[in-house]
Symmetry: C2
Subunit: 189 residues, 2 copies
């Protein structure tokens, strides 16, 4: 069967991230993707997991403890400053990163990702990917502000030089209620 958006995002990351590498969860949320990345990089790797909401950091920390995971750095910070938070030694060693746009599931939906911060974070993280490294972006856009973020993101990504990056859109186009779709940005080798 055609893979749904989130399993396909994880498959792309699995095909790209190698044990011992660095990975980034740009929006750790409830922590699920953080645990996926943790397993991909393994004991010799490291995951930097960002969120601007304490509630998300707390949930993720709880999940990591439950699963006995200790290769994750949790950062209560805006992902647009990823280059400052990720040590210089790890720049150029990032195998993969994931963004889930929109709001924290189960929250009051008052805090959402914004176009400026999202585009700036993608620009910052893509600059420190390894050659062949991948950023996957799960675009939720049904909420207030989501459509504008989607448009600004597409404008930015379609403008990227095809010699430096490939940008894939993976979307189910006959579904009701604005289902999320996937964007994947791969740095050329």
């Amino acid at each position: 069967m055609l893979k749904k958006v989130i399993p396909y995002a994880h498959e792309l990351l699995r095909e790209t991230i190698q044990p011992g590498e660095v990975a980034v969860d740009a929006t750790c949320g409830n922590g699920h993707d953080t645990t996926v990345l943790s397993k991909l990089v393994g004991d010799d790797g490291i995951v930097y997991a960002f969120d601007i909401q304490q509630q998300a950091i707390d949930r993720t920390m709880l999940l990591l403890e439950e699963q006995g995971i200790d290769n994750v750095h949790l950062l209560l910070a805006d992902h647009q400053y990823a280059q400052a938070y990720i040590p210089k030694a790890d720049h150029g060693r990032i195998g993969g990163a994931i963004f889930n746009l929109g709001y924290l599931p189960g929250s009051d939906k008052q805090t959402i990702t914004t176009p400026e911060s999202t585009v700036e974070a993608i620009r910052a993280i893509s600059a420190i990917l390894k050659p062949g490294g991948l950023i996957v972006i799960v675009v939720y856009h049904g909420h207030h502000g989501g459509e504008q973020e989607k448009q600004e993101l597409l404008d930015y990504l379609t403008s990227l030089d095809q010699k430096e990056f490939s940008v894939l859109q993976y979307a189910f186009i006959n579904q009701q209620n604005n289902p999320p779709f996937l964007l994947a940005l791969q740095k050329s080798v």
Copy 2:
């Protein structure tokens, strides 16, 4: 690496078509996809390969002979009449089908697929897919008439009931010169 459009189309067909099933090459062209489908259905399966150009049928027949393939029915016919050309006993047994829109590579480009025939052919073939069966469509749209065909096709596919079909768009969105993209239509189980 992110898979290019044609390898990804073939991967989807490989995941879906089982040995002994029926497959359809709706636009056999130079015959390459016909040989791919032939291998997927195997000795107990059958491929119906359509083209409206004698030149395409001739090229495909030559390729099939070269490769010793004998499980293909070549049909010099418009794919919109697929239901009439495919025996009733094979209706509902089609595991997968492929369309390559546009013109025959290496031809004078005077003969192109048209929106009416393409949409009607997709409607006809999708009605006789097995449950879970898949149609992949490689959309070339840089030629004269290509943009209109693309639009009419997208209008049709986005209107399909999500309970009956899933429609995936797989497209690289930062490339110059109107590269082809993929549409995949899967019948619900």
